[in-house]
Symmetry: C2
């Protein structure tokens, strides 16, 4: 995921999606610093309820922090904010600008992630120029309940087989489950609360990264 | 307002700001077609409650329509949507991306409008690269009540004197009031309900344009 078509490095196999309402009252930027210090290298800033200027200011802080740690930053939905802070890319949903439109505006050197809720959506996003797809919710999880029932591992297997881009599983992923998700074919995992709601953010990040590396070695 | 620094043509002295909730239930695009047919040449698409994809689809329709009529289209707040539909520019507010950031991303050939609520804000926007400022609410109006009390004509006079960009007055502007607003120094007027809530949209547009042209001739 460093650039289109390139084999993604394993440190991009853990994707933290932010939600400042799931931090148990702790400041998001401080938690991100902890997670980045523990080895996180891919962040999606996803704060849908912020107006443009407030989102810009947060994005600037997170951009400085991710740059400092050599991590990549994608902005959810807002191409304008991504451009303004020189993020590494944009993360799109089905109600965002279409992948093909964003690819045209961003050019080939930026990342486009896409949140799919079915295998067909993931395949379509790949065809239109997404660099990777996030698919889920795999397991039951409070933050993903609004996206419907857990889809389980079978769609992950199918998406990994049919997509020519990396597939990351989302929804209730913990360090204990990372292995089976990877064995199903997921390149990596995307998490929100498993890191942001954890009492120890650095430890939670480290455990997830260790589980991913271990599962890779075992494949 | 055709490009930065250029003397704006008088047909850009009427700026329609959209609000599809103020059309008395009539479809916005149909009303826009009527207003454009009556001579409107400057439109701001301002539908803040629409998610990205829905806003994109509406913006595409309005882009096609404005292009067909040789009118300019600005998108409120969302630089990404403006880029995606090849709008003529972006209209910013104090909680949008900063004018200077948008100017850097858009280049010199696109319009940047700015909604100011004080003379100082208008002057600042001009310094940062805005092409024109909208200032108000001048008169009492339901749609602008949330922006505070009417400011009257004095700030329009002061802004026209201090800004080196055209100032458009907003807030309760009718054809009957367009003359005094122009005499106070406003280059033009921005309206929402005076057009969109009018029983006859084409007639209302024509009356506003006539009043603007008449007041210009009389200066």
């Amino acid at each position: 995921m460093t650039r289109r078509g390139a084999l993604p490095p394993v440190d991009c196999a853990l994707y933290l999606v932010t939600d400042r309402h799931q931090t148990a009252g702790r400041p998001l930027v401080a938690l991100l610093r902890e997670a980045l210090g523990a080895g996180l290298r891919l962040v999606q800033l996803r704060e849908k309820d912020l107006p443009t200027r407030a989102l810009l200011e947060l994005a600037r802080d997170v951009r400085a922090l991710t740059r400092e740690h050599g991590a990549k930053l994608l902005i959810n939905d807002r191409l304008d904010i991504a451009m303004a802070v020189e993020a590494d890319g944009v993360h799109l949903r089905s109600d965002s600008l279409p992948v093909a439109v964003v690819r045209r505006l961003l050019g080939p050197d930026h990342l486009i992630g896409f949140s799919a809720h079915s295998v067909d959506e993931a395949v379509k996003a790949a065809c239109e120029g997404a660099d990777f797809a996030v698919l889920g919710p795999v397991y039951e999880t409070p933050s993903k309940r609004r996206y419907g029932l857990p889809i389980g591992l079978r769609p992950i297997e199918e998406a990994a087989r049919r997509c020519r881009i990396p597939v990351l599983a989302i929804g209730g992923i913990t360090a204990a489950r990372a292995g089976e998700v990877r064995r199903a074919g997921a390149f990596g995992v995307a998490v929100i609360s498993s890191i942001l709601s954890a009492p120890g953010v650095a430890a939670a990040t480290g455990e997830l990264l260790d589980a991913i590396v271990a599962s890779r070695a075992g494949r």
